[in-house]
Amino acid sequence: MDVTDIQINTYMTLNDMPFITNTVVITWGIALLLFALSILTTRRMKAVPGTLQLFMELIIEGIHWLVDKTMGSDKRNFAPYMLALSLYMLIANLTGLVVVRQPTADLNTTFALAAITFVMVHFNGFRMKKLRYIKGFFEPLPFMFPLNIISEIALPISLSFRLFGNMLGSLIIMFMLYHFAPPLAPIIGHAYFDVFAGVIQTFIFVMLTMTFVSLAME
């Protein structure tokens, strides 16, 4: 691991803006992996599943169970997005294990994911409740409107920076461990900072998304 691994490397620029960075390249890799996985599992589906199909069925059963428990079984149409989000984020957080810069340690990635959640919350809230949803911003008193707006804007900011801060922290601490700690010490660091923090942060992000969307729709 080198100092260049901590920084975001830009391979290509567009109008002096970073266009293709190592975050983008790793995200492509993860997307290809997920794409290949879903094609491989669904190409020849059998009534008696093989190992891979059984594993993926377990994951899908799990996400259906979680969505049913958190959002209610009438909102199961959100399960595909939640599955895609959690699988992408899980793999992205765990790329630190192979000493690659995690895509989620880049604010652009986490803010994009939080922006999707933000749009989902307000689009679905408006779709379900129409004018009653707009009226909700003026409650309990009309002059509270600016405060309500600020608290809505705080949602994507805190969502994105929580994931970003945790992953940046794991990146920096792992860098320190690789440089200043005795050999084999980074293994413990990987177990806590990459595996544990990565899984917990994925779970929290997905749970918060589900909770906020279902709260806005009620």
């Binding site: 900011i157 929580r162 601490i173």
Partner: protein, 183 residues
């Protein structure tokens, strides 16, 4: 007290002005790295509370000891993430302070570096709050182990909301370090 203050004012801050600007910046980095770690007090209190509740749960319901221990360790580990932010800022200040190389008025740079450390003290509150939530979850699980699933979900989401406050402090600290509008 007044005499002491008068003495300090009379003797003045000439020694401060005589210092090399770079040395002042380095000194403020060292101070700020120490100050940032003060926020860990809260994490310690919170984790201790969760541990105490774990001991209580072991006495209340020894049969579900494994579940209680799991929830206790999980809550302590999630509480630890607030403290990790302090550690990250302290390490950044020690090894890669970006303000060291930047041009600007020395006093503003020194104040910004100190403010980075000061802002991370706010990890105190989320640390205590998250630990309290974790302790209550441990107690709830020890009383009703059958409902550990819903308890776990609710307390993880609540802890995440509580952690937002230290996330905002981290935003300010990172802005001061990397995109300081004042210099």
């Amino acid at each position: 007290m007044y005499v002491l203050l008068q003495f300090i004012l009379d003797s003045g801050f000439d020694w401060l002005a005589e210092q090399d600007p770079m040395a002042l910046l380095l000194a403020s980095s060292a101070l700020a790295a120490g100050i940032a770690m003060i926020g860990r007090i809260g994490t310690g209190i919170g984790q201790g509370y969760a541990a105490g509740k774990g001991a209580e749960g072991a006495a209340v319901n020894p049969k579900s000891l494994r579940q209680t221990t799991f929830v206790m360790l999980l809550s302590q580990a999630v509480t630890e993430t607030s403290g990790i932010f302090c550690l990250v800022i302290a390490l950044l200040l020690l090894y890669a302070n970006p303000l060291l190389g930047s041009a600007g008025t020395v006093i503003v740079l020194v104040a910004s570096t100190l403010a980075v450390g000061l802002s991370m003290i706010s990890a105190f509150g989320p640390g205590v709050g998250q630990g309290y939530a974790g302790g209550q979850a441990v107690e709830a699980v020890s009383y009703r182990p059958r409902f550990s699933g819903p308890i776990l979900r609710i307390f993880l989401v609540g802890q995440a909301i509580s952690q937002s406050k230290v996330v905002y402090a981290l935003i300010i600290a990172l802005i001061l370090l990397y995109a300081n509008p004042l210099i």
